[in-house]
Amino acid sequence: MRYERPTTLKAAAQMLAKEKGKAFILAGGTDLLVRLRTGFIDPDLIIDIKDTSGARAIQKTATGFKIGAAVSGAELGENAALKKAWPGVVEAANLIGSKQVQGRCTMTGNLCNASPAADSVPALVAAAAKAVVVGPKGKRTVPVEEIPVGPGRTSLKKGEIIESLILPKRPPKSGDAYLRFIPRTEMDIAVVGVGVSLTLDGKGVVTKARVALGAVAPTVVLVPAAAKAIIGTKLDKAALDALAAACSAACNPIDDKRGTRDFRIKVAGVLARRAAMIARKRAGGK
């Protein structure tokens, strides 16, 4: 196995595209190293992107936030401006692993690892985040929900790397939230995860919303029907019931030792209600 640490993402993409053997991108390494050490992968080349320019930066731009692919969970949690604008995204990223894992793990790695239970991904999808992808054919920008295509599989083509994640600028009176259910209080994999992002008008009526679910299907899913259930409402009981029903209906979960299928379907609805109410509060609603 070889280890390379290029200083530009373009060079990294070229190395990745040229490699005849098995090549992997290394960001925080909290998934990759586990897979390497447990023998699930046997790479010929590992390309560490932490030294590529911009990889460790959180930039506030005219159109939102640009988060470099190597920014750690701990760094996200320490960025006051980002936390204020996107508290749900930051809280989701900060749920990943322990303090030790937070020191290294990235949202981009969480996304590219393509686990259906990845904690930051439902929050990113609800936030309408986009991934900037660099590859042999140049740059493209894709909605994050199009990156994972199945457990452990992404839509990235050979030689493609995610350079950064873009969180859009928010209209006033917007809020987001992420909740997960785990059997323990820390250090566990989501049995269900729900991200909600919404915007209110002056009267407290929801004008925009996005709802995404984790761990209830082979990939994180955006649920337009759930958003529709709350747009135009003040999140009264009927709207929250409709939201919960739409979330439960969108689930296609597995049965496993951490949660049965029925349990996951029910909990998706329960968490969606709670997350919507937290998002409303953060948006300045009651």
């Binding site: 640490r5 586990v34 322990s98 303090k99 020191g103 290294r104």
Partner: protein, 163 residues
């Protein structure tokens, strides 16, 4: 396989080592540099026995390649005491009997120091969450939490005295 030359600082001292691409920082510390304070409990990021800091940030050294250490400052348990003088956390761990077999202890000490550096006045639940990445098979955690609380109290009293 030709080795990778890595220049780093460990506990403040410049250290150069050669490692293979697939060696973890934990392997390097223990097998090449004789720094056996960091332990290997799981090698999958779950137990925290291998905890070190990289540029001041708490990390599992089993989840970092040795080569990634290039140009960075690594802090290990060997750098915690000041010569013969134990760090207050080390003293309180002994006083409170916060260890039995001791395998988890270096990791807990590094993690607890990192916690107190950021938050000198943690609540019990902040301590428990802060140390959730460290597993202990012996103590039942309570004595560890008491030791950390005691150190935090001492730090606050010292500060009050100085003020």
């Amino acid at each position: 396989m030709s080795g990778i030359t890595v220049n780093t600082k460990i506990n403040g001292d410049p250290v150069e080592f050669i490692c293979d691409a697939d060696e973890t920082l934990l392997d390097v510390l223990r097998n090449r540099l004789g720094l056996t304070g960091a332990k290997e409990g799981c090698s999958t990021g779950d137990c925290g026995a291998c905890s070190v800091t990289i540029d001041g940030r708490l990390t599992c050294s089993c989840l970092v390649l040795g080569a990634e250490a290039e140009g960075h400052n690594i802090g290990t348990i060997e750098g915690m005491a000041n010569g013969e003088e134990l760090h207050p956390l080390q003293k309180k761990f002994i006083e409170h009997a916060a260890l039995q077999c001791g395998i988890c202890t270096p990791g807990f000490l590094i993690a607890a120091k990192s916690l107190l550096d950021k938050n000198p006045d943690p609540t019990e639940s902040e301590i428990r969450f802060g140390l959730a990445g460290n597993l202990c098979r012996c103590t039942g955690y309570d004595k560890i939490v008491r030791a950390v609380q005691d150190v935090a109290k001492g730090m606050r009293n010292n500060k009050a005295k100085r003020a």
